[in-house]
C-alpha cells in the first residue's frame, strides 16, 4: 500500500525536482536543480548567486551554551540537508512545498559572541566607519542563516521550517529579503542604481581558495560581513548618465571602466587621463576608491537588492565573504568611508559580522566538530 510519503517520492522523481547533474543538459533552461548541502565547505558562498535571498538574524535564547547550539545546529542541518535535496523536512506539515528545491542553499554562521564557544577562532566586530548611520534593528546577532534559491516557494518553505525548528532555542531579530538578477552570459547582475554589481569578484577556484576560505582553526569556513546599504534613488535619478558613470568610474551600459576596455572585467587604468590631464576614472570615484594597491579582487561580493515594502526604501544587502575580514574587507570599507563620490547616494544602515561554519560531511551536522560535541 503506497503511503503519502512514497507517493511524494514518486512525485519528486517524476517532477525531476532533483535531477542529477548528468541530466542537466536535457533541460538547460530549467532552474530546478540540487546544490548539495553536505561537503567540506558550506554551499551558498562560492555558489553562483541564486535569484532570491532571505537572511535571518537570530539570537540564541539567554543562558544557552554549546550544547543548546549543537541541538539547534542538528535540527537546522537536518532540515537543510533534506530541503535542499527536494525532500520534506522531518515533521514537515507542507511536504509538497519541498518537491522543487530550485537551487536552494542554506548557509549557517555565528556572530562574535558565539565564536567564543569555538577554540582558536575570534571574530572582531567591524570598526566604526564615519559614513555609517547604523540602525539597531539591522544590527549584530548571535546567528545568521543565509537562504538562497531560484524560487520563492522553496525559499519561504525552508525559511519557515528553520524558524519553526528554533522554537525555544533562538529568537528572530531581523529578516533581510533580497533579489539578484541572474545572467546567462557570465556578467554581473545589476543593482537598483543600474550598475553591474560584483565585477571585481574571484572568478575561479584558486581565487576563491586564496581570498574566501579560511585556514587554521576555521579551515574550510569563511567570514561574512553583512552591510545593509540604503540607496537614495530619488536624487540618484536626478543625475544624468555622464554624472552617474563619473561617480562610479564605469560605463552603465556594460560596466567597462571609463579608462577603456570592452566589458566590466577589463582592468581599470587609474592613470589614464583626458586631454586636460585629469584621470578618466576620477580618483574619488567608487572604482578608484574601492581599488586596493594590488589589482584584482579582495573578497567575494554577494549582493542582493532590496525594496522595503513598508516604506518603499531600497538598497543593497551587501555581503562580503573573506578569509580575513580585518585584512581584506575593512581596508576597502575604510577607504570608501574616507572618500567615495557614491557616498552621496548610499548609506550603510545595518552592519554585522559572522563566522561561517566549515561544511559538514554526510552523516554529520554543521558546527558539531567545531563545538567539540560527540556525534
Amino acid at each position: 500500500m503506497p503511503t503519502r510519503r512514497t507517493i511524494l517520492r514518486a512525485g519528486v522523481l517524476a517532477g525531476a525536482g532533483v535531477a542529477a547533474s548528468a541530466c542537466k543538459p536535457l533541460s538547460p533552461e530549467k532552474s530546478t536543480s540540487v546544490i548539495a548541502f553536505h561537503g567540506l565547505r558550506q554551499a551558498g558562498v562560492q555558489t553562483s548567486p541564486q535569484s532570491h535571498l532571505v537572511l535571518l538574524g537570530i539570537d540564541l535564547t539567554p543562558k544557552s551554551g554549546a550544547e543548546d547550539l549543537g541541538r539547534l545546529m542538528w535540527l537546522w542541518s537536518d532540515d537543510a540537508a533534506r530541503l535542499t535535496s527536494g525532500q520534506p523536512a522531518l515533521a514537515d506539515t507542507e511536504p509538497e512545498l519541498a518537491v522543487d528545491p530550485a537551487n536552494l542553499t542554506v548557509t549557517f554562521g555565528i556572530g562574535p559572541r558565539l565564536t567564543q564557544l569555538v577554540s582558536g577562532v575570534t571574530l572582531d566586530p567591524l570598526p566604526h566607519f564615519s559614513t555609517d548611520k547604523l540602525q539597531e534593528r539591522w544590527g549584530q546577532t548571535d546567528l545568521v542563516v543565509q537562504l538562497c534559491a531560484d524560487d520563492l516557494i522553496s525559499l519561504t518553505h525552508a525559511q519557515r521550517m528553520l524558524l519553526k525548528d528554533m522554537a525555544g532555542l533562538g529568537v528572530l531579530r531581523w529578516t533581510q529579503s533580497g533579489f539578484h538578477q541572474r545572467t546567462d552570459d557570465g556578467s554581473s547582475g545589476r543593482n537598483l542604481m543600474g550598475q553591474l554589481d560584483g565585477s571585481v569578484n574571484p572568478r575561479n577556484a584558486n581565487e576563491h581558495d586564496a581570498l574566501v576560505w579560511a585556514d587554521g582553526a576555521w579551515k574550510h569556513g569563511t567570514f561574512l560581513a553583512v552591510r545593509r546599504i540604503e540607496m537614495h534613488l530619488d536624487t540618484w535619478d536626478e543625475l544624468d548618465r555622464e554624472a552617474r558613470e563619473f561617480t562610479i568610474g564605469r560605463k552603465l551600459s556594460n560596466g567597462a571602466p571609463l579608462s577603456g576596455g570592452k566589458d566590466e572585467f577589463a582592468d581599470p587604468d587609474l592613470h589614464a587621463t583626458d586631454k586636460h590631464g585629469f584621470a578618466l576614472i576620477d580618483p574619488a570615484s567608487h572604482v578608484a576608491r574601492s581599488r586596493s594597491a594590488m589589482n584584482g579582487p579582495q573578497f567575494l561580493r554577494r549582493g542582493y537588492n532590496y525594496v522595503e515594502p513598508t516604506d518603499g526604501t531600497s538598497g543593497l544587502i551587501f555581503m562580503a565573504y573573506a578569509s580575513d575580514l580585518a585584512g581584506q574587507f575593512v581596508p576597502v570599507q575604510q577607504r570608501l568611508a574616507e572618500q567615495d563620490l557614491l557616498n552621496q547616494w548610499t548609506q550603510a544602515i545595518g552592519s554585522a559580522v559572522y563566522a561561517i561554519w566549515p561544511g559538514a560531511p554526510k552523516g554529520d551536522y554543521v558546527g558539531r566538530a567545531q563545538l567539540g560535541l560527540p556525534r
Binding site: Q46, T47, S48, G186, N201, P202, R203, N204, A205, N206, H208, T235, E238, L239, D240, E242, A243, F246, T247, D274, H276, G277, F278, D282, A284, Q339, L341, Q344, W345
Partner: protein, 179 residues
C-alpha cells in the same frame, strides 16, 4: 465706433504683452537640461586674457554650489606647474598660483556640483608681452633623433605590455569559471 477704433491698438498691445508674458512663463518653466549642470560663470583671470603681471591667485565662480572634491592643473610653457591647494566654498573655487615667467598658461579645472554633476574644462591666459607664436615652439631644444628613439621605444614597450596582457587574460579565462 470712435471709441472702439481708438482702443483697438491698445487692446492689441495688451494682448501681445499678455502673450509675451505667457511665452516667457512657459519657456522659464520648461526643464532646461543645462540648468542641471554646473557651468563656469566667470573666472579671474578670465579666459583669453592678457596680463601684465603673473596673477597670484585664481578664482572660478560657478552657477551651482560645489562638492568639496575639485582639481586643477596649471600648465605653462615648460609643462605642468604646482599650484597651491584648491579651496572650495559654496559656488567658488580658489587657489594660489606660483610665481611664473612670461608666457601662455592653461588652467584646467574639474569640479563636481553638490548635486553630483562633474565639469571638466580649462581657461587660458597670457602673462607679459609674449607673442602667441612663441608658445608653439618646443620648450627646449631636443634632437629629433632622440625623440624618434623615445617614440619607437614606447611603441615597443606598449606592444610587449599589450601582448602580455592579452595572454594573461586568456589564461585567466581558461583557468576555469566559478562554479
Amino acid at each position: 465706433m470712435k471709441a472702439l477704433s481708438a482702443s483697438a491698438p491698445r487692446a492689441i498691445a495688451r494682448l501681445a504683452a499678455c502673450l509675451l508674458m505667457i511665452a516667457v512663463g512657459v519657456v522659464a518653466s520648461l526643464p532646461l537640461p543645462a540648468q542641471a549642470h554646473v557651468l563656469l560663470l566667470r573666472s579671474d583671470p578670465a579666459d583669453g586674457s592678457v596680463l601684465k603681471e603673473a596673477p597670484t591667485r585664481a578664482v572660478f565662480e560657478f552657477n551651482q554650489p560645489l562638492a568639496p572634491t575639485a582639481y586643477v592643473i596649471l600648465t605653462g610653457p615648460d609643462g605642468p606647474l604646482t599650484t597651491g591647494p584648491v579651496k572650495v566654498q559654496a559656488k567658488t573655487l580658489t587657489l594660489t598660483l606660483p610665481k611664473v615667467t612670461d608666457g601662455r598658461y592653461r588652467l584646467a579645472y574639474r569640479v563636481i556640483s553638490a548635486s553630483g554633476h562633474p565639469l571638466t574644462n580649462s581657461i587660458s591666459y597670457v602673462v607679459g608681452k609674449i607673442a602667441p607664436r612663441t608658445m608653439k615652439q618646443p620648450p627646449r631644444e631636443r634632437s629629433p633623433d632622440w625623440i624618434a628613439a623615445t617614440g619607437v621605444g614606447a611603441v615597443v614597450l606598449l606592444g610587449i605590455g599589450a601582448g602580455w596582457f592579452v595572454v594573461r587574460r586568456k589564461r585567466q579565462r581558461q583557468t576555469g569559471s566559478p562554479q
